[in-house]
């Protein structure tokens, strides 16, 4: 399982809509810009967002003798993406599955995707601490996982859920690489006043409570919510946005701290 993958990082949050998928994509793009080969595995089966965010809707998965071939947004094939979104007939189709079926799908994603050689595989998850998470953790335990990144927004109601996710990591024996606080503040485009719409410093407090590193705060930037006519603009908008250097510094922290799988095994 995941033989050619050097580092596995799981993106988690107890809370939904805090930006797990957006941060996963942004981190992947930054790691790619640093020269790494990166994969994103989207295990949010009921609400896959990765294909939309990367402008890959409508792409489909092909089969080769080694397994499923992921989708490559660029010709250089330095970014590989797998999501259930590529297996749905219509983008509006719901995936109405109970746990066992979701678990079987996730196992297949982990075992049967032909990633080739990857430096980093980022696993984007749905919110919660249930079937998807237990299944991912049980399976990647065999392959050595670098650890988990917890994404939160600053307000107490999100931090409360993410604290529970930290407990989950500890019980599952997965190290926490750190906390990213997303949607930290919003700078009014009219008067440049920065408002902390979703409160402030919740991520820092969480890192302190859970005794894990704080990786950084990412402000709200409506530009990256996607341009008219789809999200193709996301990748370009991100590379030139004020967020790029912020995420870049987070991805540098990750690459510096992460020992390679081949070093440790």
């Amino acid at each position: 399982m995941l033989e050619g993958v050097k580092h596995v990082i799981v993106i988690l949050s107890g809370k939904g809509g805090v930006g797990k998928s957006t941060i996963s994509c942004q981190l992947a793009l930054c790691l790619k810009a640093q020269g790494f080969k990166v994969g994103i595995l989207d295990v949010d089966l009921c609400g896959p967002s990765i294909p939309y965010l990367l402008g890959l809707e409508g792409q489909s998965i092909h089969q080769c003798s080694q397994g499923w071939v992921p989708v490559y947004p660029n010709e250089d094939q330095n970014l590989a993406v797998m999501s259930i979104g590529f297996l749905l007939q219509s983008r509006d189709d719901p995936v109405v599955w109970r746990g066992p079926k979701k678990n079987a799908m996730i196992k297949q994603f982990l075992a049967d995707v032909f990633w080739g050689d990857l430096d980093y595989l980022l696993i984007d998850t749905p919110p919660g601490t249930s079937d998807e998470h237990i299944t991912v953790m049980e399976n990647i335990r065999q392959v050595h996982c670098d650890g988990a990144i917890l994404v939160t927004t600053p307000q107490a109601v999100a931090v409360g859920d993410v604290r529970r996710e930290a407990t989950f990591c500890k019980k599952a024996g997965i190290p926490i690489l750190g906390v990213i606080e997303n949607m930290s503040g919003f700078t009014c485009p009219h008067c440049k006043e920065c408002t902390n719409i979703f409160s402030m410093d919740g991520g820092k407090q969480l890192a302190k409570i859970a005794q894990v590193p704080f990786l950084g705060s990412v402000p709200i930037n409506p530009e990256i919510s996607g341009k008219e006519g789809g999200s193709i603009g996301f990748v370009d908008a991100f590379q030139s946005s004020s967020l790029f250097p912020i995420i870049h510094s987070i991805s540098c922290k990750l690459t510096q701290s992460a020992p390679s799988k081949s070093d440790t095994v």
């Binding site: 089966l45 609400g47 967002s49 509006d92 079937d131 719409i197 409506p222 919510s225």
Partner: protein, 288 residues
Amino acid sequence: MRMDVPSNAPEHCPGTQSESAGKVSACQGCPNQSVCASGQAQHPDPDIEIIKKTLASIKHKILILSGKGGVGKSALTGMLAFGLAADPQRNYVDENLAVISVGFLLGSPDDAVIWRGPKKNGMIKQFLRDVDWGDTEYLLIDTPPGTSDEHLSIVQYLLPAGLDGAIIITTPQEVALLDVRKEINFCHKVNLPILGVVENMSTFVCPKCHKGSEIFPAFTGGAEKMTQEMGIPFLGRIPLDPIIGKMCDEGRSFLIQHPDSLASKAALSIIEKIQNACNPGKVMGESG
């Protein structure tokens, strides 16, 4: 959508209520095969009858759904609850409001509920079967994001007891609408009526210059356009007011503390529409 496929059933399970239950090739090796083949499984779950009786004293049962997380399901559920409890006397809110949550059963803020589907379904069933609500006007059921165990179980247990329908919450941007359309199609599949869609976090008004900004831009037309395309009611939009989040964090009612804010006015008009949708005979000229 088959509601009668047990969570431990193989992929091609014909459904426990089917004529061929326990008899087709897919049933080989399924732990339920002998029960299904004996015909016992065709009797409906006896708990559904008990749930029906327990909830008979509740006039209206509403599910709060969204395919997307973090759009404000729980915040709006709280707001609706405060709003409905205040009506019509606008008094005694606290005494009119009863709440059950697994949160009350946890010992510490760090306690995680690490459960797979069947255990969650058991808990949900217990909440529906064993909580004594007494005479209650409205029961609002807040749900997690997605279309999985919790949602299937709730619908399976509650449809026979009578559900008014679902209120669907979204934010304006496409990445949320994408998941919300899936949730709406889920409702269609399981025959759950939709009371309407609320768009939350619509516009942010800067507290300094009072000009509006779109934090989650509705590049694809937002919730209103989606409801038109999908032929379901649009209930309104609630602006993004940072005080709502603050009130939630402090456990206070935004509606009571800030009754004159735009968000409160929007919420009150939405609550009125929901009441009308639940009592179609009472108000004239409001439907459709």
